[in-house]
Symmetry: D2
Subunit: 295 residues, 4 copies
């Protein structure tokens, strides 16, 4: 979908504005209608504020209807193909479209418990999560009382809207809805950036699955040309960076043991802030290494 | 099998000596017979020297017969149960008794190639190796010429004899046939040894299998009460130490992210010297760590 | 002075016991007299307990007299040579016998303020301190009220007695009155202990003076043969370890910049527990290093 | 002195060009005259090339005269004030204007030995050096033969010209004649950049003097707002960064020993490449730190 300029949105008729952004809130074009009256927007933040404010200041009934307009997570709507295109893409991003039967059952049970307790669907901004963190959130939020949980659902809708606006609208200054995951390899044996080190980023699941989601070689400055994750939230979850340092040192004709003491260095860590900057460097010699959350 | 004191071996009749140690060299009691005439032995090293010297100074025919007395690695003898008890236990230690069909075929082909080229069985001291390092040795040694390879085979027999003597004979000073793998966890967040950290040692195979071979909790000094591997060679191969640091910091009420940045820290390394001392410490905070081959 | 065996002290006449240990408490042989009646002592801790208990359970008048029997720190008694031999040696250990005029004046003023407020001399176990930490203690304790300060003075006397007993009496198990300062140099460039690295230990004063108090070369295990400080308390204060790593790497023909990036690595730290174990290792390459309080 | 735009220099009369740049080579305006004929210059590198090429392609007599036009280092010309303004400022930058009598004598002797051997003054681009590295260069180059040494002198003149052009001429792309010295403090105790850490940069001399040449506090990203040295070569020499980490951790109410284990962390290193980028970060907890040459 082509991006719309913020200026163009400011200049549109209300009808066109709603046509353009009405579906950023699931089945609730009234939110865009209300926001349209607050134009012009100086920047993305003002647009987002108008949308969320419209929801926040609406009546309790309207809020509830808004929440109820969302599909179940990994539920029958997903299987039956009855979701909006955005919802579909979002649920796929966290792997909810490829659950095992056991996982599908677990989601099914949680959905039922949740609906029974709160009489509404469980809403979470899946682009900010992995399957594991969604399950943890699900269980955590099931323990909320109804008032707290309604607020929690609304906040998730705000997250969803913010990410959809970020995708649809073009403006000079972006919303702060992206995280970044980057690395840097320093060769403290030779006192230089380590160039040409293969790095893979794997997403790990609690049940032991591993999926490579990015890979790159370090450049002359020991960094990857682009962040391993950027331009989107980092799904809250567990990751492993695998640095192929054995091949690097072998290429430099460094004297090594046979087999080398270090061949692939795995660095496992979890992301707690989807919008955070996670810089995870590696300081390496053939016999030692350090890593840390940098900045 | 109960250990025999070196003093007792020194005092035995030649016949009893050969009965006691004759089978430390596969199907070649003449080695013990020759060694018996060099008694008394001041220490284990003298005993080992007498045994290896008997082999090294024997005729080429005898050496070849000695080599040929050994079974194929992971060969039909293993499957048919036609090996000596020692050979059987040794091959099991490297997992050669539980090969997949594919691995069995690979060994079978290598055995055939080797027999075709050298007209003798491939001998390796399996207690010093993992399945992966045996396969690498197999391929490396297949490229030797016959003279070099006969020497290589003899050296492996010496390793085997040394380890068998170490198991059978008791003496105040031991042979240097053991390696050691140990760790130490320092909490550089609190400035103290990290006590009560669960540590697991996994053996990794090239094909991606993982087998936990030791686990322990650190004591008040941040060390495990006993080395993770000790009293035997460390099989040449790849290992991963997994340090459960998330639970440690949580127990101390350290402020942590949710989920914590570090929960399990994997440290992957390879052992190249079966008799080496591998001390692999971890310096840890909730946000960083260092590791190295220490001493 | 030759050490006396604890057994011999147990067997002595009371008179001889008092002759032997009477002066471990400055001008108060009655403490040893009282302790003599509690013999035999199973170990050093029992002896120390009998001495301190005699003081702790004495009347307030006696306690005050005991305190008043001590000389001023760096006071006229020191200059006039009117102190006991023990006091003299102890004050010298912290450098109180070689004060500048300015320092002498500062001590003089503090002594006056202290006597004016508490009507007794300021007592501190100088073997556990440096000049700087004595001055800090002096100022801190001047803010105490009289009751708290009398207890503080008594505790210092207990420390003094414990160290004097440790010097005078021989017994299988020692009192825990010693600290230890040690180091270890790991070459993480070569993956081995760094042997032959010159290490100096300097004591730093707040006013910028530096005094080398120990120096040693590392042995094959990367350690010094003996701890840099051991067998006595570590004076509370600030220290700098200087590691001569440039010469070490040059000797190994490691490729280095000219001049090398690292030649002498200073590691500055403070000791807060005189009886603590301070192990301060260095992990070094020609381009990086790490240090930490180890164990 | 106001900078001249490269475009303006391209457009000037030859006479004005020589007036503007003639003195960038000491007492040799003919170099600028020759360069003027090669205009226009596309960039600074072309201008520099024209100047150095004029010198490199001149006759041996002219080269020698060029060299002889330079003053002695820290010589009588310096004391008598008979140098060009540029030379004066340059010699001051390395501290040659404030030598002790002993140092002045040492330079005097070296100047004499050098003149005796080579019949020309010793030339070195002092902006790239400290007093210590000049003395080391002096002694090293005294061992050259005359041919090698004449080339060495010319190369130093090229360095001098490049730096003078860099100061005089303004152009979009700069010559690569600057080094950079920067730092970064990461708090691996709290998992964040360490903000508000005071950092001082001292220049150390072989004879033990210390001169603070820069100081700054780290900003929210743990960096200093500007590099500690930038926009000029880094004098080849030895430096010490002093990080005031004790105050930082105290401000965060981190539990610390009294006195804290680490208060000021000194990091001592040498610069070998005047045009290099020296990034020297500190990873710090209250009980440990790491540093390295980064990028």
């Amino acid at each position: 979908m082509a991006q719309l300029a913020l200026d163009a949105l400011n200049a549109m008729s209300p009808r066109d504005f709603v046509a353009a952004l009405g579906d950023t809130v699931e089945h609730a074009p009234w939110v865009a209608e209300a926001a349209a009256t607050r134009r012009p927007f100086a920047d993305m933040a003002a647009l987002l504020y108008a949308m969320t404010e419209a929801m926040a200041s609406s009546s309790d009934e309207r809020k509830l209807a808004l929440i109820k307009g969302h599909p179940d997570l990994a539920g029958k709507a997903a299987r039956a193909g009855a979701m909006t295109a955005d919802s579909k893409a979002e649920q796929a991003s966290a792997g909810l479209d490829r659950l095992s039967e056991a996982e599908f059952s677990r989601f099914h049970l949680l959905n039922n418990d949740y609906r029974k307790k709160f009489s509404m669907p469980f809403i979470v901004c899946v682009r900010r999560h992995s399957k594991d963190s969604i399950l943890r959130e699900f269980e955590r939020r099931l323990r909320n009382d109804a008032t707290v949980e309604k607020k929690a659902a609304l906040i998730e809708i705000f997250h969803i809207v913010a990410l959809r606006l970020d995708q649809r609208v073009e403006a000079p200054e972006r919303l702060k809805v992206h995280g970044q995951l980057s690395t840097h390899v320093l060769d403290t044996h030779g006192g230089q950036p380590a160039a040409g080190v293969m790095v893979e980023l794997d997403e790990l699941s609690a049940s032991g699955e591993r999926r490579t989601i990015a890979s790159a070689a370090t450049n002359r400055d020991g960094r990857t040309d682009a962040p391993l994750i950027g331009g989107r939230p980092i799904p809250i979850g567990t990751y492993e960076l695998c640095f192929h340092v054995g091949a690097y040192f072998a290429r430099l004709d460094t004297p090594l043991a046979d087999p080398p003491f270090l061949t692939i260095v795995p660095v496992r860590f979890s992301v707690a802030e989807a919008e955070g900057h996670y810089h995870v460097p590696l300081l390496i010699t053939p016999w030692s290494y350090s890593t840390y959350r940098g900045s």
